[in-house]
Structure formats: structure tokens, C-alpha cells
Point group: C2
Chain length 408, copies 2
């Protein structure tokens, strides 16, 4: 095990940024103070290592380690079996509200540490190696997960994205310049290291694992319109209360997901007028659903929507459901996965139920792989999310080993 004192120092430097004193959780919203501070840290870390930082009109960042002069870096002239474009690693800085310290930043900090380790070992890359920090991976501000990477590969157009608004009504178009990104122009390989968000590695007693696929998943907005009424004077049978329709939909979604072994969650709700003595006029709620296949996901969401509609009829409310974002199944590149597993000397291979920028890049034709670092709590998107120092250092070594093969 390498000492990697720099990794630990970086981790201590980032710990206070965007941290809530009361809950211990993090809120690092894209393009706001905590994330901007992390991006400033990124530029300093790159500059201290002599890396060239490039950004795009959305705020995505890449710090490039260029091959020494004289090394042939022309695309397509290499001798390996893989393709010969630039290689990228990294992750994101932003967090959900009251999230953990590791989801995102662990991948960025580990990338710098892996680069340090590769230099220590005398690795001389034949191809440029970039460390990326993508913006708005969680979708916690503008409601679109992996927004930065989607914009970078062109999976989401700027014309659509600039009209997105955050909860305060601020348009994305008023926050960033926007336009076209050329940041990933020559990139053909991406490796993202991420804290595990379940207990598969705990169960397998392994510090590090490699990703096989991302479950299909999406967000659906449920709008339930009823009629505002006085909570005291209106007889129960005279009401059109959208909270009842919502409540039954929550229970139905939980039952459906349990029964079929999938996932369905209502974690966000917006009630109007949200007053104690008023029957609500309107409930808006967001369903997060994930399933092992595209067909299973469609079936799950369809069953929930059907039961919500039936209950709306019973309650005298009106339901409308719209898909805000849906991602089909992503299988990571098989040859790359095998190459990474071989470089690490054999580690567990597992699917993930969480979306990641690596899924967006894979979908856009950039072969991608993921490394997961064991999380003893199994919990993420929570202050309880954690990873042991030894496991984090094992992650850095694994990332360095994988990248060394890829840039050779």
C-alpha cells in the first residue's frame, strides 16, 4: 500500500465545503458557492501538477496530463487492440441536499491521486489522460440528472437545457453561457471511480469492484389537482383532496416495487397551499423508478400510474403524469471491462441502480468503465455514506493500475 499522504490531505481540504453543521450532510449545488469552491480547488490541484485545465460553456472541467514532447499522440496510430483517442477519468463535485462526502468528489480526488501514483511509478503516457469534473450530475438543482455530461456529449441540446429552471425560478440560461462543448472531442475511453451505493462489495468482502451495467431508471412528475377547501367546515364527502390520491400512490408504488424486486420512491413533494387548515388544491410529486430491464421499468411505472389514476377517479381529483427523464439500460463496454478486471487481478463485477456520467458517455459511444469502492454503511445520498481510508487507497491504486494499461 502506497502512503498517498496527498490524497488524505486533499480529502481534509474538501471536508468543510458545503457541509451542514447540524446534519453533517453536504449540499453542493452546481454553479453555487460550495461547488464553485470545489472547482477552484480543482484548478489549484491541476496547476500544482502542471496539468492544463480546459472548460466548456457549461462549466464541465478537464485537467489534461499530456504525453512528453516527442511521444506520438496522433489519434489512430497506436499499436494496442483498443482505440487510440484520449483517455478520461474523474467524476463530479455536486451532491444531493444533505448528501454524503463521497458521492462524486471521491472520484475526482482519487483521479488526482492516481495520477500522482502513476508519476511516482514512472508511467509515461502515450496518450493524453484527462481528469474530469462534470456539473449537475445529481440533478439536484435543475432536475436533470447527468446534465453536464449530457450537454458535453450532445445528448441534451442547449436549446432545451437553457429553459430549465431551478426551485427559485432561475433559468439555466441565466446561470451559464451555454453553447457547444468540444471538451470530449478526442476522448474514446472513460473510467469513473465512485463510492458504492449498496452493500454488494460488503457482502463479497472486497474493497473494489467493477461495473457491468446501469439499471434503466427515470423520474416521473405526478400532478394531482383537487379543490382547496376549509379543513374544518368542508364535509369529508364534499372534498376533492389531492393528498389522498398522493398517499395512495405512494403506498401503491412501494408495494409494486417490493413485489417485483425493483425500486420506486416518492422523495419529493410540493403541496399548494401547504397550510394546516386548508385542504390542498394541488399536489406535485416526483417518482424515482428503476428496474432491471427496460420492460420491467415500463411495467412498474405503468402499474403505479394506473393505480394513481383509479384513486384520482375515486377522490374526484385530476391526475397527469409526465416523464421528466428516462434512461434506458446501459451496458458498459465488455472488452474494456475485461481489460480493467484483468489489470486489477480479478475483482467482483456488479450492476448499479444509480445513474452516472459514465452511462451517458458509454451511450454516446465513448467506451466506459466504472470502479466502485466499498461503502460499509451501504447507504448513500445521506450523511451516513462512508468509505474507509484503506479502501479509498485501494481504489486509487486500482484506478492507477487500470489507467496505466489504457494510456500505454
Amino acid at each position: 500500500m502506497t502512503d498517498l499522504a496527498d490524497f488524505e490531505q486533499s480529502w481534509r481540504d474538501l471536508a468543510p465545503i458545503g457541509r451542514s453543521a447540524s446534519s453533517g450532510g453536504y449540499f453542493r449545488q452546481p454553479w453555487l458557492s460550495a461547488e464553485l469552491e470545489l472547482r477552484a480547488w480543482f484548478r489549484e490541484a491541476a496547476s500544482a501538477r502542471g496539468l492544463e485545465v480546459e472548460d466548456d460553456p457549461f462549466g464541465n472541467l478537464v485537467a489534461w496530463w499530456h504525453p512528453a514532447t516527442g511521444v506520438d499522440t496522433a489519434v489512430g496510430t497506436g499499436t494496442g487492440t483498443g482505440s487510440r483517442g484520449r483517455v478520461l477519468t474523474g467524476s463530479h463535485f455536486d451532491s444531493v441536499l444533505d448528501g454524503g462526502a463521497f458521492d462524486g468528489p471521491l472520484g475526482v480526488v482519487s483521479s488526482f491521486a492516481a495520477l500522482d501514483l502513476m508519476r511516482e511509478r514512472g508511467v509515461a503516457p502515450a496518450r493524453p489522460l484527462g481528469i474530469a469534473a462534470f456539473v449537475e450530475e445529481e440533478g439536484s438543482r435543475f432536475g436533470r440528472a447527468c446534465l453536464g455530461s449530457r450537454l458535453a456529449v450532445g445528448a441534451t441540446s442547449w436549446a432545451d437545457a437553457r429553459e430549465l429552471t431551478d426551485r427559485d425560478g432561475t433559468r439555466l440560461g441565466d446561470v451559464v453561457e451555454g453553447g457547444t462543448s468540444t471538451l470530449l472531442a478526442d476522448v474514446d475511453t472513460y473510467v469513473e471511480l465512485h463510492v458504492e451505493q449498496g452493500r454488494a462489495l460488503v457482502d463479497r468482502d472486497a474493497a473494489v469492484g467493477v461495473g457491468s451495467a446501469i439499471w434503466p431508471h427515470g423520474r416521473w412528475r405526478f400532478d394531482i389537482a383537487g379543490r382547496a377547501d376549509h379543513a374544518g367546515t368542508t364535509r369529508m364527502e364534499d372534498r376533492a383532496d389531492p393528498m389522498l390520491t398522493y398517499a395512495m400512490t405512494v403506498l401503491a408504488s412501494n408495494d409494486e416495487a417490493r413485489r417485483t424486486g425493483q425500486r420506486a420512491t416518492f422523495g419529493r413533494i410540493d403541496v399548494r397551499p401547504n397550510g394546516t387548515n386548508a385542504v390542498p388544491s394541488h399536489v406535485t410529486a416526483w417518482l424515482d423508478a428503476r428496474a432491471e430491464s427496460d420492460a420491467a421499468l415500463a411495467e412498474l411505472v405503468g402499474a403505479i400510474e394506473r393505480q394513481a389514476g383509479d384513486r384520482a377517479g375515486h377522490d374526484g381529483t385530476r391526475l397527469s403524469v409526465s416523464a421528466e427523464s428516462v434512461s434506458g439500460e446501459v451496458a458498459f463496454d465488455g472488452a474494456l471491462r475485461d481489460e480493467v478486471v484483468a489489470a486489477l487481478g480479478g475483482v467482483p463485477v456488479l450492476p448499479t441502480q444509480a445513474g452516472h456520467d459514465a452511462g451517458i458517455l458509454q451511450d454516446a459511444g465513448i467506451r466506459s468503465a466504472m470502479l466502485f469502492v466499498r461503502n460499509p454503511s451501504g447507504v448513500s445520498h445521506s450523511p451516513a455514506e462512508t468509505a474507509g481510508t484503506a479502501d479509498c487507497l485501494a481504489g486509487v491504486e486500482a484506478l492507477a493500475d487500470a489507467l496505466t494499461g489504457l494510456v500505454a
Copy 2:
């Protein structure tokens, strides 16, 4: 029918204040701009009529019409059968979020119009007649219904009230001076006119009715603590999701209230972190419950709490319930009620399920009565709340008739 052009002009003057352009509903929070504007209007209306305005350290207002000099106004020296203190009428200005135009302001505006009508008719009061505007009747800002009248009669102490905070964390003690109110010192009779909040007068084909009693009612805060988790990666069976406990509690409260003919509503919820892809860590929700008797209310809330607790055990969440305010049944003074009914020549007498300042004053030993004005929609705490002009003018005449007998 008197013309009462002033009443209609006043109504037009108040219509735009605190009104939402999108919903047409009102939000007039106590001690904030819309309500302050209404209070400025109150002072002008009083001044235009030569009334003396008195306030107290909480912002409650009374405009006094004093007997002409020479009339004996000493307390306790009158010859009638009732008591001989000051007489008060009025209501409140504040509204729930997205409420109607009538709940509150109708009583204040009608009081000024009734006074005008009494003067037109040559009534010379033998006792001071005051028009009151109580603050925070709805409890929409600091969560305590009838807070202004409770403070005015001493039913709530300033030491307790000053620590109340609004949703932005502002302390009541930082909003108003506070202290002791002497505003109601010599008041022994209160008559409040209010828009009806149900359909009893519609069903009885009557423009005006008189109140018999206020149902017992209260607000209970349900705190449900779970564990934040990633909505994608955490298996359904590994979660402790407080939203499930909440949802079942909503449905149970509705079932219980329907079954027993009472009222139970969950109209307000606060979710942490309230993110689409996070299982919530905490749900706080407020139950508004009302019943025909104190025993029925205790039974209703007990049944809901029991079912919520059972479900919390099932979900692995922790439930705590606290009563934020509970008001027992208030029967309005029987002799006063009969006197008012007689003055109006016989009108329907009906209970109300809504709390009112008149209930607080009655409880504090000030004999109180209520007049209700027909509401064709039967709906209140909603932009749909309404009252026809002819009915409003009938209300003004009824109030003038009732007050004329009381100040003689």
C-alpha cells in the same frame, strides 16, 4: 335594503391587496405588507368616521365610537338585563395562503358599514361600540390560530408566544413589541360577522344565520423520522422510509373521519431532504382535526395516532406526535344568542366547525355571538369562497340591528 354604496366601495378598495394574479387567491400574512396595508386602510376608515383608534402591543386594533358627551357610560350603571360594559364587533384581516376575499375582511368592512347605517338611522349609543381587527386569526404565519385574540384576553402568554417562529425562522418576539394588552379591558359583549364556511345557509335558503357553538378542534404535529438513502441503490426492504408512514397515516385519518362523521385533514407537509432521488430522512406533517364533542375529538386523534404508530413499527421509522393547539367546544352565550335572533326576527341557528376569535373571547368570559353570511360555493380558504352583494348587505343590516339593541 339600504344602498350602502360605501360598503361596496370599501370592498373594491380592499380587493387588490394581497391578491395573487395567477390564482386569484389571497395571502395576507400578519405583520407583513398586505396585512399592514389593510391595517392602514382600517385607520383611515376610522379616522374618516371620527372614531378613536386604539392598538395593543401585538397589533390588535379597535376603532371606538364613543357615546356623545353627557350620556352616562359608567360600567355597571345601566338599566338593561345584560351586563353594561363596552360592546365590540369586528373580525380579522389575515388569510390563509391562497384563501378567499371574505374570510375575515367581510366582518371588519361590515362593521364599519353597520356603524354608518346605525348613524344614518339616528342611533345614539349609550355604551362605547368598538370595531376590532385581530391579528393572526388563521395561524398561517406563526402556526397558532386566533393568536391575536388569545394574547388580547391573556389565554396565551407573551412569554410563550414570543418564542414562536415562522417558516423563515423569524421569532414573533422580533416582529412585534409584545407585553400586556388592555384593549378589551371593559368589553363584555362581542359580535363577529363572518362568511359562512359551509352550505347550511344555502340548504336553509337564508342569507344570514346565527352561531350556536364552535366544534372542538386542534392541530397536531406528526414527526416521522426515517433514514436517508439513495432511491436507486437501496433495496425496498432495507429502507426506513418515513413517506410510507406518512401516506398510510393520511389514508387512515381520512377513513376515520368519514366513518365517524368528523373532520381530519393533512394539508401541510415538510419533507427532508425533499429530493427526487433520495429516500427522505424526515417527514413532518400537520393534522387538523375537528369533532362534534371533546370526547369524539380525542377518540378521532387517538385512532389516527395509533394507526400511524403501528405503521411506523412496520416501516422501521420513529413517530412522535405533539398537540400544537387544541380548543375544546365553545358554546356561545345562550341569552345573547336569543337576543340577537330576536333582533333579526328569527334566523337559522347553526354550529361551526371553524375556530374564530369569538370563541376565544367567549371562553375568556366575554359573552359572544356570531352572524354568518351565506356562501353559495360552500367553499372557504380558497379563491372560490364567495358571497353575493345582496347577502352581504343583509349581513350589514343584521349586524346593525343586533348592535343597536346591544348599545342602547
